[in-house]
Subunit: 218 residues, 2 copies
């Protein structure tokens, strides 16, 4: 097979995993919905084995729930869990940002400026999914040099959980400008190496997002 094609092709299972993860985050499937194996096979045009492996991974990751002999379900949304996720994000991302401000080098500063620039440019003229992608990248770039692999892992996982709430909230898009302003300010505080203020603002930022996201419940 062609070398270039070979590079791009991971296993079928991991491709399905990524597609399903995106669609779950985008709210393509309703909270609590049961996912029919047969339907998914048709939708994603894949065989049974790789599909089930992808679903198993998503269940372990926390985006799906597997019931005894009753297949896979999308997890429900609840205010209590959103509060839990929000508080965990505040603490973990806050801590990570403090560490990142302490350890981040010039390369980090460049990446951060670049990520913020791309995000601002995509503010209103690009499709939602693209802004979401850039938004994730920005928050990831912010805490990347914190020095802890496990901290970053948990943060990503919570981010995915949070996005399920945020993206299904009706008013989510209207807040973009306000959030972007906070992103801008976060970059400035980070470059100024003001760890304490940066952390405080990030926690405010998360709380604000959470208030909007609440509208997705009930």
């Amino acid at each position: 097979m062609n070398e270039v094609l070979k590079q791009g092709s991971a296993t079928t299972a991991s491709r399905i995993y990524e597609m399903l993860r995106q669609d779950l985050l985008d709210g393509r499937y309703a909270a609590g919905e049961r996912l029919s194996i047969a339907l998914l096979r048709e939708t994603y045009e894949v065989g049974l084995s790789p599909l089930r492996e992808a679903l198993s991974r998503l269940a372990a990751y926390g985006l799906l729930r597997q019931e005894n002999q009753r297949g896979f379900r999308v997890l429900e949304l609840s205010r209590d869990e959103l509060a839990d996720i929000t508080e965990m994000r505040r603490q973990l991302e806050g801590k990570a940002l403090e560490l990142a401000v302490k350890h981040g080098d010039e390369e980090w500063e460049s990446q951060l400026l670049a990520a913020n620039h791309r995000l601002l440019k995509a503010c209103s003229h690009t499709p939602v999914v693209e802004w979401e992608e850039l938004h994730s990248r920005f928050h990831n770039a912010l805490v990347a040099p914190c020095g802890s692999v496990w901290l970053l892992r948990f943060i990503s996982q919570l981010h995915d959980q949070f996005d399920r709430y945020r993206r299904s909230a009706p008013r989510a898009q209207g807040l973009r400008h306000q959030l972007d302003a906070q992103h801008q300010e976060l970059v400035e505080l980070a470059l100024a190496r003001n760890a304490r203020r940066a952390r405080e603002l990030l926690e405010e930022h998360i709380t604000l997002s959470s208030e909007v996201a609440q509208e997705s419940c009930r």
Copy 2:
């Protein structure tokens, strides 16, 4: 099929998952080892599909790594990662214990005393695996009423990671008495609702375990 038997039987995949998880924690498979699918099929006497689903879940959980078309490997042990896991445990379990001391009720106090009692009784006269089980239960009971599902989830995950290091350390068994003494003291501080001192001691406890666990690397 019989009702009682029905109760006990989860899916084949989840049974394999639990067995493999236990064996990985017990160090039955060497760090970095490649797991042969065919061999695993014979060992656990299962079919291909549920086995692969279990392996996929374990990979998502962080006990295995799946390489492109090269199957599943046990994750390596490294001092850096142990340090990372230890620091994360200190912070997350410390925080959780503070919350548990604040929110725990009488039921919690009873459970805690019971778990500690069982652990002390099993100190030297029972097989290792049983002590390990009771040890996990004790630490779980300690932080259980912290009020955050996600915090508990991350703590369990880190505990499993940590155990891979601790259980393969040669001197791990000799420390039991010292650790048990700390467990005793933790219970007393918890019942006395001394959140600050309890947290400090738990962090010491984790650090002590970590020093022993280090011997499993290189």
